[in-house]
Symmetry: C2
Subunit: 215 residues, 2 copies
DNA sequence: GAGCATAAGTATATCTAGTGTATAAATCAA
DNA sequence: TTGATTTATACACTAGATATACTTATGCTC
């Protein structure tokens, strides 16, 4: 299956990486707003026009890193054991991500990752552009849940959408909460038990409903 | 309590309205991207610089209309009967909004409102900037729920945040679903029973959990 | 009502993200 | 090597947003 990849293709990939790394480096050094496209193009030794051939917008220079994760929840559901409930698979996957300090869980204190968290959190333009990816996650998870729904479920399509929206929103909230505490200076090890407890509680709520606010 | 409002203040309010209405009118006529700030300033007979003194950005010319609703959920929870469960109050409020075809419910087919829906939905810049308001809704609702939580609830702060995030996400999803169907040409009257059923199902899921996806 | 401090508005210039177009250079296939 | 095609560049332009200096309008005091 190993495609040999022509020189053209390899060069393209290299340029992509060069630009992205130059951008992230400068952003981390000086902050997102203090770095212009011209600065990045100069650092990567390409023209401004070429930069936009590789990345559609300035924020994409940062956010393209999230693209890999946008169908993660859906994939987890699809690839789970056939008999296993989607919420169980997702819960287990989240616990694993926390345990292994996966950056996506928000609970990673590797300095480079922390700096990256800070960049995204403290730059409103990035934080708000991030919802594009969240929206795609909702769409793909909706489809995956729909496929896992029993056919006789009334309003099955809508229920799948509502469930997906809740799950993605909760995952985002958990990750942001962990990031905040990491950015406040805690270590991942110190936070992990708490983060696991919160994740478990979140899945209790998803599974069993918002009992503290029920009649 | 009637503040007399000096001439200066009244003029300010009038200018604010003039600019906003000129902007919306032009946007609805030609589309968001086809209208420049200069066009709006000319139509409202102010300078571009003055326009930015009233609205911080182009998207705010449209989205400031959502600002009034950003603490609606929180207010509903706070002003509910002391004994009543937050989810019951919110559910009732949502049913009422649908019944009265409140634009916020997504189920309003008054032509001007439909055109406004279309403007927001079909302009990615607006749709994504809208999350700013959603984030604020989450914050205010979190605080309101926190106040309504029993003191012995473990992880009370986090549970309040998780619940708020779920509720706001679900409300948004329901409104978007209604808007889509209205934009596809249905009338509000034709959709209302279905919209109510979906809202009820959504609150069943919030109250009782995502049972279709549980073990 | 006259005069003055302050607030609001304007003109002008500048910066930067993003796009269109035409041209030059590199790559690939024959 | 040559010819077709992709990729990169130079240049020009639009438009959102901000800074600065200047003018006009408002309202308060005497």
């Amino acid at each position: 299956m190993e495609e040999p990849l022509g020189l053209r293709e390899r060069k393209r990939l290299r340029t992509h990486r060069t630009i992205s790394e130059a951008a992230i480096t400068l952003f981390l050094e000086r902050g997102y707003d203090a770095v212009s496209i011209a600065d990045i193009a100069a650092a990567a030794e390409v023209s401004r026009r070429t930069l936009f051939a590789y990345f559609p917008s300035k924020d994409d220079l940062v956010l393209h890193r999230f693209a890999d994760h946008e169908d993660e929840a859906a994939r987890v559901v699809r690839e789970g054991a056939p008999g296993e409930a989607p919420l169980d698979v997702l819960h287990r996957h989240l616990r694993l991500a926390i345990a292994r300090r996966d950056p996506i869980s928000g609970l990673c204190d590797v300095p480079e990752v922390v700096a990256f968290y800070r960049l995204v959190v403290e730059t409103p333009a990035l934080a708000s552009a991030l919802v594009r990816y969240q929206a795609r996650s909702e769409d793909t998870l909706t489809a995956a849940l729909r496929a896992a729904t029993s056919p006789e479920e009334p309003l099955a399509d809508r229920v799948a959408r509502l469930a997906a929206v809740q799950i993605i929103a909760v995952h985002g909230a958990l990750a942001r909460a962990n990031q905040e505490r990491i950015l406040a200076g805690s270590t991942a090890d110190a936070l992990a038990p708490d983060a696991l407890a919160e994740a478990d509680r979140a899945y209790e709520l998803l599974r069993g409903g918002l009992q503290p606010y029920r009649s």
